[in-house]
Structures are given as structure tokens and as C-alpha cells.
């Protein structure tokens, strides 16, 4: 008799991971899924062997394990889909009660299914064959999607950039430069939108900065409303459509933009001036693994925190209801690490340093209260997951905590013999929340935070009124370079990601007072 090969449990174990990768292939690197795949395969193997021993049948054990895997990996998806059609807030249930209503039937189905497979006297050889094919077809469909991306849409860096790529950085100049700190507080809104949209007065922090010698750009705007465009354009000192060849590149291809961020002229220029470069990472793919960095700090490995992919994968599993309970601490530790590293930076006389810090605050997920107390918002997602809606109190809470931590950092950084250049500039506005008209939309998305501290005030020209594409042009000019300033513009990106529309006029007028 032909022996039945049982491989469906292993395919069903890897399918959810491969599917998630396939669905987000243009924003992920393959190495992200290696560990989850290894864990899934080895865990499945172990449980299957043990269960096979207990049930004295590997075929039966295979079915019970497969059923368990389906329940484990689909629970989060079912929860999210259910919430789309029957939102928690409409049903007026709390998060855990909603989960309980779903969890009990899922558990009962699993128990009944397992009971059937354990007790049945029927040979399950044909059923194994059928389920093997189903599982294989699921994996193959996802692999085709991944293959298609790698064949048709994966670009090399040379194809992406329409500017010449320097092969190596030549260090030519002396090191008589000040230290430079560039701190990105992700989604930190400017005071204009905080006041106008949320009636929040941030003057306590602004006054603190002013007393420390900072200038605050009161009507600052970002060039784009998303990190993936803002960061590469800032670090290329140019608009993204001038930096990447948008005729050939799909702007939806996040990986192309990540590559652009990583290989940027700002870091190269600092390097060529003899700077030591520190990159304080947030975990965001847009600022991780940057090229030309001497010291990477607060990496996912350092802080034992999850990558965005790991976090999303867990969100889709049965661990969903307790994800924040299990992983919020690591998330908080990662954010605190960023502030700690800034605080620990020493004034080193040997070489000047450029510190590039990306801190995921006050951006989602909401894990801190105003004084740093841990809070559980029920989600660790960076995106609006459709379940945990915009919550201005939580956003302001994290903003106030960012203020608190930044005060400590600023106190420390300004207490040095040789003053540093410090730029605090968010990549975009608060972005979430309701808006009644186009101008309010622009305020929520583009009104970012910008404060700067220049020791040599005479050289500070135009910084207050310019947008992030010019920030490093001005800064390098202060260090002796001669960059021309670009015209300040703002762009919205179409939903398909294939168009950029100039909406600069909407930022300048109408005056918000006119809309009162």
C-alpha cells in the first residue's frame, strides 16, 4: 500500500507567514520572515511528533495540528474582519468581551473537530491527500505573488535613483565642526494644528525651548504627509520625484523608497566632513540599517522589541487579545532607549558627531501616558487598525510625554562647552482625526513640529520659513557648503501611489482665521 505523506501541517504553519509577506512584499525584506518560518516549522514538528505519539497515529495528529494551526493563525483575521462589519463601538462591547464572544465558538469548533479526528475509525489517507493539496495551493498562490514582485518590480538602487551614486565616501575635510543632532519625533504636530484642530496649547514646551535658545517655526509644514516620502526627501535634500525616477518606479514600492533613505547624501556629506555618525533607530524600516553609519543604537535586537512584521503577524493570531499585555513593555523600552541614548551622548572632542534619532512618539501605538505611565490601548499597530480609532487624549498624552523626555535631553545637550546644532523636526503632522475642509486636512497632515538651536545665529538664514527639503541644505551651508535653496512645496500622494499633486497653495492660503 502506498504510504501517505503528511505535509499539510507544515504548509499550514508557513502559509500565514508567507501570505503576510506576499501581501506586503513591496515594504518588506525576505530576511524578516526567516525566524518566524523557523519557529513555525519547528513548533509544528514538535507538537505533531508528541501528539502522534500520544494518539498513536501521525495522520490523526496531523489533522489535529492543522486544525489548531488554522485556528491559531486565523483568529486575528476573523476578529479584524468581524470588526469591519460589526464594529466594537456599535455593539457597545469592550475589547475583551468582544473577543470572548468570538473565542468561545472558535474553541468549541476546534474541540469538536479534534474530537472527530481522534475518534474516527475511517482511514484518513484520502483526506490527507486532499488537505495536502489545499495547503500546497495556498502556499503556491502566495509564492507566485512574491515571485512576480521580484521578477517585475524589484529594483536595484541604480535603477531607482536618477542621481549619480557615489561608490565610496571620501573624507577630505578637517573636523572643526559642531556636533549635529537631528531628532525626528514621528507625527509630532505643529502648534498651529494642535491649537486649531484639537484646541491644545503646547506653549509650556515651546516656552521651555525658547528659554534654552531654540527657535520655533510656528507655521512649519512638511513636504509630504507620510514618513516614507518625508524621510528620503529630507535626507536627499530634494523632492522625492527629483530623487527617484518616478517614470520607472512605482511610488507604492516602499522598498524602493527605503533603499533611497538608506543611501542618502546627507549621511555621506557628514561622513566626508569627518563626522562620526550615530543612528538611533525607531524600528521603522525607513530609518533602520542606514548606510554610512558608525554606530546603530536602539536596534530591535538591542531592545528585544518586535519588528513591524512580527507585530502584525502576532496581531493576526489567537494571541491578538493579549498582544499588548505581552509586548507593550518591549515597545516602551524601545522608545525610552532613544531618549536614553540622546541623554548619554557625550561631547567628544576627537571627531564631531552627527546623531540621527528617529523616535516613534507621539505616533501610534499609544503606550505612554503624559508622565510616562504605561497605558494599554489594546493595540500595538502603527496603523489605524480600524478597531482602535483616533484618540486625541492618548495622542496628547504621548506628546506630553515626548515633551517631558525632550526637556531632559535638551537640558543635557545644551550644557556643554562647545554648543551643538540641534534640530527637532517631525516628519509630518498628527495626520489622524476629522477635518471639515481641505485646509483642515492639510493642517492635520502637513503642519509638523520644527524647533532648532544654532550656536552661530548669524549663519541661520531662512531656516524658520523653509520646509524639510531645505533643512540640510541650510545646515550644510552653515558648515561651509554652497547649496541653493529649493522652492518650498507640499505634495499629496494619490491613493494608488502613482501621482504626486502639488498642493502648496492650500498651505499658504486661506488663512485659518478665515475659516472660523
Amino acid at each position: 500500500m502506498k504510504k501517505t505523506v503528511i505535509f499539510h501541517p507544515f504548509l499550514l504553519a508557513i502559509f500565514p507567514i508567507i501570505f503576510l509577506f506576499s501581501h506586503n512584499v513591496n515594504n518588506l525584506y525576505a530576511e524578516e520572515i526567516i525566524l518566524p518560518l523557523l519557529y513555525a516549522i519547528s513548533g509544528t514538528f514538535l507538537i505533531w511528533i508528541v501528539l502522534g505519539f500520544i494518539l498513536k497515529s501521525r495522520i490523526k495528529a496531523g489533522f489535529v495540528v492543522s486544525l489548531g494551526l488554522i485556528v491559531f493563525f486565523s483568529y486575528g483575521h476573523i476578529f479584524m474582519l468581524l470588526n469591519t462589519y460589526f464594529p466594537i463601538e456599535d455593539i457597545k462591547l469592550d475589547f475583551l468581551s468582544y473577543h470572548l464572544i468570538l473565542f468561545i465558538p472558535v474553541l468549541v469548533l476546534f474541540a469538536l473537530g479534534s474530537y472527530y479526528f481522534i475518534r474516527t475509525k475511517r482511514p484518513l489517507n484520502n483526506a490527507t491527500k486532499i488537505v495536502n493539496f489545499i495547503a500546497a495551493s495556498l502556499v503556491v498562490i502566495s509564492l507566485v505573488g512574491i515571485g512576480e514582485y521580484y521578477i517585475t518590480e524589484s529594483y536595484s538602487l541604480d535603477q531607482i535613483q536618477n542621481i549619480p551614486k557615489e561608490s565610496s565616501v571620501q573624507i577630505t575635510e578637517s573636523n572643526n565642526f559642531p556636533d549635529v543632532y537631528y531628532i525626528i519625533l514621528d507625527a509630532y504636530a505643529g502648534s498651529l494644528s494642535l491649537q486649531k484642530m484639537e484646541n491644545y496649547d503646547n506653549s509650556d514646551f515651546l516656552d521651555f525651548l525658547s528659554k534654552k535658545g531654540f527657535h520655533i517655526a510656528s507655521e512649519s509644514f512638511s513636504n509630504y504627509q507620510g514618513t516614507r516620502f518625508s524621510i528620503p526627501s529630507t535626507l536627499h535634500m530634494n523632492y522625492i520625484q527629483n530623487t527617484v525616477d518616478i517614470k520607472n518606479i512605482d511610488l507604492n514600492d516602499g522598498r524602493a523608497l527605503i533603499e533611497v533613505s538608506r543611501d542618502n547624501p546627507v549621511f555621506k556629506n557628514f561622513k566626508s566632513k569627518g563626522y562620526t555618525i550615530y543612528s538611533i533607530e525607531s524600528g521603522s524600516v525607513h530609518t533602520t540599517n542606514m548606510n554610512n553609519v558608525d554606530f546603530r543604537l536602539c536596534t530591535n535586537e538591542d531592545t528585544a522589541s518586535q519588528s513591524e512584521f512580527d507585530s502584525l503577524l502576532i496581531e493576526t493570531t489567537i494571541i491578538n487579545p493579549i498582544q499588548t499585555k505581552l509586548f507593550s513593555d518591549a515597545n516602551r523600552e524601545k522608545i525610552l532607549c532613544g531618549f536614553s541614548e540622546l541623554f548619554r551622548m557625550k561631547n567628544n572632542n576627537d571627531t564631531p558627531k552627527f546623531v540621527f534619532a528617529h523616535i516613534m512618539l507621539p505616533h501610534r501605538p499609544y503606550v505612554f501616558g503624559p508622565t510616562g505611565e504605561p497605558i494599554d490601548s489594546g493595540s500595538l499597530a502603527l496603523r489605524d487598525d480600524g478597531i482602535h480609532k483616533w484618540n486625541v487624549e492618548r495622542y496628547i498624552g504621548q506628546l506630553e510625554f515626548a515633551n517631558l523626555k525632550m526637556k531632559g535631553v535638551i537640558e543635557k545637550l545644551t550644557q556643554v562647552e562647545e554648543p551643538s546644532i540641534i534640530i527637532i523636526q517631525s516628519d509630518h503632522g498628527m495626520r489622524e482625526g476629522e477635518y471639515k475642509n481641505g485646509y483642515e486636512f492639510m493642517l492635520r497632515n502637513f503642519n509638523n513640529f520644527k524647533a532648532y538651536y544654532f550656536p552661530d545665529e548669524e549663519k541661520n538664514v531662512y531656516f524658520e520659513t523653509t520646509t524639510p527639503v531645505n533643512s540640510f541644505r541650510i545646515l550644510f551651508n552653515m558648515l561651509g557648503d554652497e547649496y541653493e535653496l529649493l522652492e518650498d512645496k507640499a505634495y499629496v500622494v494619490s491613493k494608488k501611489g502613482d501621482q504626486l499633486e502639488d498642493v502648496t497653495f492650500a498651505l499658504k492660503k486661506p488663512n485659518p482665521e478665515l475659516l472660523d
Partner: protein, 70 residues
């Protein structure tokens, strides 16, 4: 009360018309769970299963029909 000039009104109208096409979600580029897609993919998988089941049990089904006709 401050009057809104007609130029500004046109600008507001222009932005409002523009917005539906440019209100983005995808452009933020956060990873997406793809819950809808996984359901569709699972349905395709189930259809494959039905096809294989028919193939596997075809002889039995045929025999059953044959015996009924007799």
C-alpha cells in the same frame, strides 16, 4: 465677520474636489494584515480541495451512480 474672498472659495472648492482622489491610506505604507485577501485565497484553496476530492472519489461516485441506475 471676516469675508472669504472668491479666490479663496475657489481654492477651498478645488481642494475639496481634489481630496477624494488623494485621501490616502495606502500611501502611509504601513504593513497591512490583508484579512480580506486571505479569505479569498482560502476560498481558492477550498475550491482546489473540492477538485481534488472529486478526482480522488470519482470512481466511488461513478460506482454509486452506476449501482443506482442498475
Amino acid at each position: 465677520m471676516v469675508k472669504i474672498s472668491s479666490r479663496i472659495k475657489i481654492q477651498i472648492a478645488a481642494i475639496s474636489l481634489l481630496l477624494p482622489a488623494f485621501i490616502i491610506s495606502d500611501a502611509y505604507a504601513y504593513l497591512d494584515p490583508g484579512s480580506g485577501s486571505i479569505v479569498i485565497q482560502s476560498i481558492i484553496g477550498a475550491l482546489v480541495g473540492v477538485g481534488i476530492a472529486i478526482k480522488v472519489y470519482w470512481e466511488k461516485v461513478k460506482m454509486k451512480f452506476y449501482s443506482i441506475r442498475k
